[in-house]
């Protein structure tokens, strides 16, 4: 199915449903792809942060700190 856009002319009140041109499809797909990349980067950063925190907790515990002391340090 062809991608369409709904165009609302705020001056005339006329609403049209128009098939996207190849250029418009490219713009929409590029923007959507970038937003997906942004989200994936954010999730990867959060995962890395959580992994690093867990590693730090394990190392601190191995050094003899209590769970309460580790929690006080790392929040």
């Amino acid at each position: 199915m062809a991608l369409t856009k709904i165009v609302v002319n705020c001056e005339t009140g006329v609403t049209e449903e128009i098939e996207l041109t190849a250029e418009e499809v490219a713009v929409v797909e590029a923007a959507q792809a970038q937003s997906v990349i942004d989200l994936a980067a954010r999730e990867a950063a959060e995962t890395a942060k959580a992994t690093a925190k867990a590693s730090a907790q394990a190392k601190l515990t191995a050094l003899g700190l209590t769970e309460a002391e580790v929690a006080a340090l790392l929040g």
């Binding site: 709904i6 165009v7 609302v8 705020c10 923007a31 937003s35 997906v36 942004d38």
Partner: protein
Amino acid sequence: MQLISSVSVGGAGAATIDFTSIPGTYTDLVLMLSGRATSTTATITVAFNGSAASFTNIYLQGDGSAVTSTTGTTLVGNASISTNTASTFGNLSILIPNYAGSANKNFSVDVVTENNATTAFEQIFTGVWANTAAITQVTLSLANFAQYSNAYLYGILKGSGGATVS
């Protein structure tokens, strides 16, 4: 606040909702969207005057288990997606103050998605479009807007009683 125009998506869906020829007679714009995607791609993006360039934003998000914050470009929020609870729609509200002025255009966005499950999103955005042109066109894109998605564009007047004060 006055309704400028509105649109309801029909059975064929739509990739974009495009408000054009927006008059410059208001002080601020508010765009409200009730949206659902026909796919599992939730991301809603914005363009002003047909341009997706020169956007930067930062947003804070809660997803039911974690809170995160990060930066982006044209992303302005998530919609409910095809795998979310049937017939549920997300809400999105964009405030664009001084949209017809000659400075860069700031905007803020409040978003929630609806889903009867453990994961649903609450998001707040602040962004800037580094362009001094008056905004005459606002475009939202999603893959794709499902039937019964609705968008409403409002203009805010600065005067009391709805009047424009010069």
